[in-house]
């Protein structure tokens, strides 16, 4: 945060970034993952994505019209929520589930807490957990080429070996957005290059996760095991697109690292010792809940306040 203290005298250079430009960048960055799932599963995932985005935007519009608030659908944040939720769903889910999830995400998690900038946890992830708890069967049935099979993470959990190359490309089972690690990483590189996200949270998150995996995974430095965990499940999607959400993650530099470490440990605990194979969603929303505390502890002291209790 030291660069924040070097405030020069006016006039200041103003950044060009707006909520709108950031959200549109995120939408662009998610295109590769979406496009790949269409290539892989056909047009049905596209329908899920569009329905989910439409439901999210429509819910936001109707709520803001109904309560006579400023309509904020043009900034694209509702569309991003809808898209992220859709990318977290299996490719064969009936269309009413993304609608229900989007309504819950926008209405309950976002708007009832005050709209954009006020939500206490990531709306898309909260909705995903809501659906996962409610419709466990539907949400965890993944089929590849009409054959229902275990996801790579489930294979790893039961002690098997996975094919890393096909996981990188995306020839495995999983949700719409998480199957292809490369497609997700392409989007992440775009966001980093556009300086939309900072690398602090994803790197501290993934780093902590790997360290915990080596220490407690029971496989030591087994490369196949570690890479399988990194490419499998929602880890990459979560680390680059959801753990970097501006509203629900710390704004301080040290806070970002603390947050990354926290969700890294939580993800590892959920994956290794939890009942289900994945755990990224729960780890991130639990981390979201700790953000006010993390920010309180890591808030840099203003010059002249050194050593005093503010």
């Amino acid at each position: 945060m030291n660069d924040l203290l070097n405030v020069s005298s006016s006039p200041h250079v103003r950044g060009k970034a707006t909520t709108r430009s950031i959200m549109y960048d995120v939408l662009i960055a998610l295109l590769p993952a979406t496009a790949f799932s269409v290539y892989r599963f056909g047009l049905y995932p596209l329908a899920i994505v569009l329905v989910s985005m439409l439901a999210a935007v429509l819910t936001e519009y109707l709520y803001e019209k109904g309560t006579k608030r400023r309509v904020t659908i043009a900034d694209g944040s509702a569309a991003v929520t809808g898209l992220l939720l859709a990318l977290n769903l299996p490719s064969t889910i009936p269309l009413w589930i993304p609608v229900l999830g989007s309504v819950f995400a926008i209405l309950v998690v976002k708007q009832l807490f005050g709209g954009i900038g006020q939500n206490f946890m990531n709306p898309a992830l909260a909705a995903r957990c809501f659906l996962l708890i409610s419709f466990t069967g539907r949400m965890t049935t993944f089929s590849v080429d009409s054959v229902t099979g275990a996801t790579p993470l489930a294979v790893l959990k039961s002690g098997g070996q996975v094919d890393i190359v096909s996981m990188l490309i995306g020839n495995t089972g999983g949700t719409i957005g998480e199957i292809s690690t490369i497609a997700v990483l392409v989007g992440a590189v775009y966001l980093l290059a556009r300086k939309v996200i900072s690398w602090l949270i994803p790197v501290s998150y993934i780093g902590t996760f790997v360290v915990c995996l080596v220490l407690f995974g029971g496989h030591g430095l087994d490369v196949n095991f570690i890479l399988g965990h990194l490419c499998g499940g929602g880890l990459m999607l979560g680390a680059w697109f959801m753990a970097t959400d501006y509203v629900t993650t710390p704004i301080t530099k040290n806070g970002k690292i603390v947050f990354g470490v926290l969700i890294g440990v939580l993800t590892c605990v959920f994956r290794l010792f939890g009942g289900s194979a994945g755990g990224v969603s729960y780890a991130i929303i639990l981390g979201n809940l700790c953000v006010p505390l993390i920010e309180k502890v890591t808030m840099p002291k203003a010059f002249g306040w050194e050593g005093k209790q503010s």
């Binding site: 229900l100 309950v108 009832l112 809501f130 708890i133 409610s134 419709f135 466990t136």
Partner: protein, 233 residues
Amino acid sequence: MSKYTERIYNGIVKENPTFILMLGMCPTLAVTTSAFNGMGMGLSTMVVLVASNLLISMLRRIIPDKVRIPAYIVVVATLVTVVQLLIQAFIPALYDALGLYIPLIVVNCIILGRAESYASKNPPVVSACDGIGMGLGFTLALTLIGFFRELIGAGTILSGTPLAVTLPEIYEPIAIFVLAPGAFLVLALIIATLNALHIKNNGNKKVEGCDGNCASCSGLSRCLSEQEKQGVE
């Protein structure tokens, strides 16, 4: 309105223990998985509440001030044991559904709260009416929460009663509503709706000594009565 019916109205509407005073949250959130369970819990609590208010009010001049809380607990625990044995004998289905939460009525803060703040200062009959009001308010609130949780989360209406209706197959229950998170969601949405109605009818007046931060305020009933006074002026 006589002072007896005023007490009952106060318990159900003005100082509803669940929606206004927010007391007894533990049974409220834990047992309201269906309207039947909620009503069972509410009625058991009401029986204990009426009897304990009556007894404590009659004993209020005998109980020494310094040991009043242990004395109240003895009275309440005795009554809860009676109620527990009665439920076990006559409504075993309810006994199985409520389980541990029946003995936990002893530590329900509505009961101790009413004993401390009302029954220990007022004559027996009006105290019993206070118990009936509070108990009915609690029962209605729990039944309402249970009704919505059951409807959304299990797709049934009033299951466990002769009036049970099951929604058609096409409705797929949203299971989270019968689990713990659903209790918080339904309770919060009902309270938000009631507050919105209250503000619509009475305006969002500022009360003296209130900084507008209701989260850190413990005196909601005082707040409401202040509002009323201001309304009279």
